[in-house]
């Protein structure tokens, strides 16, 4: 049965539903239906592609889809909500890898200067996105230190590698007869260099900046996919359009995220943020510990409580307990609000998702701009597993955090910091907040600590 005539119409419909899907995903109420629209479109596009004229290796294609699809499905189903950001990085990297492979196949065949050039650029971007995303995945997964990894002369080495990559790319496109390097050498060399560059480019970026980086590699992959669309004859317009849309949308999203964190892209990529200790000696005083029972009393006699959660809460899986605590306090007539920093968790919006999963209602969640004026009138602030997002060092010139918008929890009458130990935050910077007079530290695993807090409160 020849259904090849259906391919273009189906691709057109696919693009239509992709755009509608993205549009719906950008509004909270319609977001969920958006991915379903896009998903249905992807399914029919995949099916109709089997009818491409002259397509062979059909069994191989089916096997590859089952292997890759099966892995993607199972891994994504099993992963905990807290680990979602690195899964996005992983799948994005795979898309980039697929794009790099398509470029490689295109370059193995005969190509004109134009298609060759486009395939080389697509291959470079795809391979960088692949390697970089995998490093981002390793860092967030904890398989690699999340701090910036730097070495002397790093930027020079990176530049040199990039230059070599470009040179080998140019050699592939021009295939000059004068230079006796065969394509069999230069093509693998080009991809190895691109891959290496992706790794080196990502190593010096600290864990705190990873969301921005993942978002940027997401845009990269989109761009690589679009460029690969050109390597088919006729061009695969579905790939070009979908890829460019992701490239544009992803770039914009990256800029918005960087803005929310008050980091410029140049800073993210070349700043090696958090690699060095802050100018020490500026932090005065000591950390003062407090017992659970005392915190319970403090809470019981408070009128207003604000909870500032961070990634530490999610790591300790304390969301459920925190929700219980919230209910308990509300039953006592105490107002409880959540202060959500834009980058609490590992990505913008990640914390909202984690709290929603635990059943905390949306109207209790307030973003930074809404809640900051309320801190001075707040009796108790519970900082649960947050660190950099509440560090008042951000107001101090000279601190690496300077200028980052933070939650001004230090203005509250009492600040209780629930923390595993005395370590530093993701950015690796000392937190002034912990040394303030109105701050008390409640050490221990967040889930257990909140559990004990609930018990103490019930006894009061």
């Amino acid at each position: 049965m020849d259904l090849s005539f259906a391919i273009e119409p189906v691709y057109i419909a696919t693009i239509f539903f992709f755009i509608v899907g993205l549009q719906r995903m950008s509004h909270p109420l319609t977001a969920r239906s958006g991915i379903v629209w896009a998903g249905a479109a992807m399914l029919i596009a995949t099916l109709v592609t089997f009818f491409t004229t002259g397509l062979s290796n059909l069994v191989l294609i089916a096997i590859a889809i089952v292997i890759g699809g099966g892995f993607g499905y199972i891994a994504a189903k099993r992963v905990a909500m807290t680990n979602m950001p690195q899964m996005i990085a992983l799948y994005n990297g795979m898309g980039g890898g697929a794009a790099a492979c398509i470029s490689a196949v295109a370059l193995l065949a005969t190509h004109s200067m134009v298609t060759g050039g486009i395939a080389v650029v697509g291959g470079l971007i795809g391979a960088v996105s692949f390697a970089g995303s995998i490093i981002a995945f390793f860092k967030l997964q904890g398989w690699m230190p999340s701090r910036p990894i730097t070495f002397p002369g790093q930027q020079i080495v990176n530049m040199a590698i990039f230059l070599l990559t470009v040179i080998s790319g140019v050699l592939i496109v021009l295939q000059p007869a004068a230079i006796p390097i065969s394509a069999a050498v230069v093509l693998p060399l080009f991809f190895i260099l691109s891959f290496l560059f992706g790794i080196l480019m990502t190593l010096p970026i600290g864990g705190a900046d990873m969301p921005v980086v993942i978002s940027m590699y997401n845009a990269f992959t989109g761009l690589a996919v679009a460029l690969d669309g050109f390597s088919f004859a006729p061009p695969n317009y579905a790939m070009i359009i979908a890829g460019v849309i992701v490239g544009a949308a992803g770039s914009l999203l990256t800029l918005q995220m960087a803005k929310a964190m008050n980091r410029s892209l140049g800073n993210v990529f070349f700043g090696a943020f958090g690699a060095t200790d802050t100018d020490g000696g500026q932090v005065k005083g000591s950390m003062k510990a407090i017992e659970t029972d005392d915190v319970a009393v403090l809470l019981a006699y408070a009128d207003t409580v604000i909870i500032a959660p961070g990634y530490g809460m999610a790591v300790a899986q304390a969301q459920q307990k925190v929700k219980e605590l919230t209910d308990l306090l509300e039953n006592k007539g105490i107002s409880v609000k959540f202060a959500i920093h834009p980058v609490a968790g590992r990505m913008p919006g990640h914390m909202n998702v984690l709290l929603a999963e635990a059943g905390v209602s949306y109207d209790r969640l307030f973003d930074r701009d809404e809640i900051n004026p309320e801190f001075p009138a707040t009796d108790v602030v519970l900082v649960i597993g947050a660190n950099d997002t509440v560090n008042p060092a951000a107001h101090r010139q000279g601190s690496p955090l300077f200028g980052m918008p933070i939650l001004d929890v230090e203005q509250a009458k009492n600040v209780i910091v629930l923390k595993r130990g005395q370590g530093r935050g993701f950015a690796g910077i000392e937190n002034d907040l912990f040394y303030r007079d109105n701050t008390r530290m409640l050490y221990g695993d967040a889930q257990e600590t909140v559990g004990r807090l609930i018990q103490s409160l019930k006894k009061l």
């Binding site: 995903m25 969920r32 592609t49 889809i65 899964m87 799948y91 492979c101 398509i102 899986q317």
Partner: protein
Amino acid sequence: MTEITAFWTAIYIAMLAAFTGYVVISRVPVILHTPLMSGSNFIHGIVLVGAMVALGLATTPLEQVIGFVAVVLGAANVTGGYVVTERILQMFDRSGKKPGKGA
């Protein structure tokens, strides 16, 4: 259509697509940044169809191997991207009564 006409047509299309992507994403609330990133991650999974064609038209064993890897990676991008996005957006569904068990 000659190759060069098709090329320029594709450039026109790409330019319009860039504007589309820009317009669709601007003015998005911060809480939707993660799901949107995940959603657009799924959409570039369209690379799968290119990978299928690359493998389907492959003639040499080397092309077949690279094409096979491309399809595996592309398919993982598609299914993984979909499931992750779906799971994140599920959390936004206020009608969903049962609160999760904390993963």
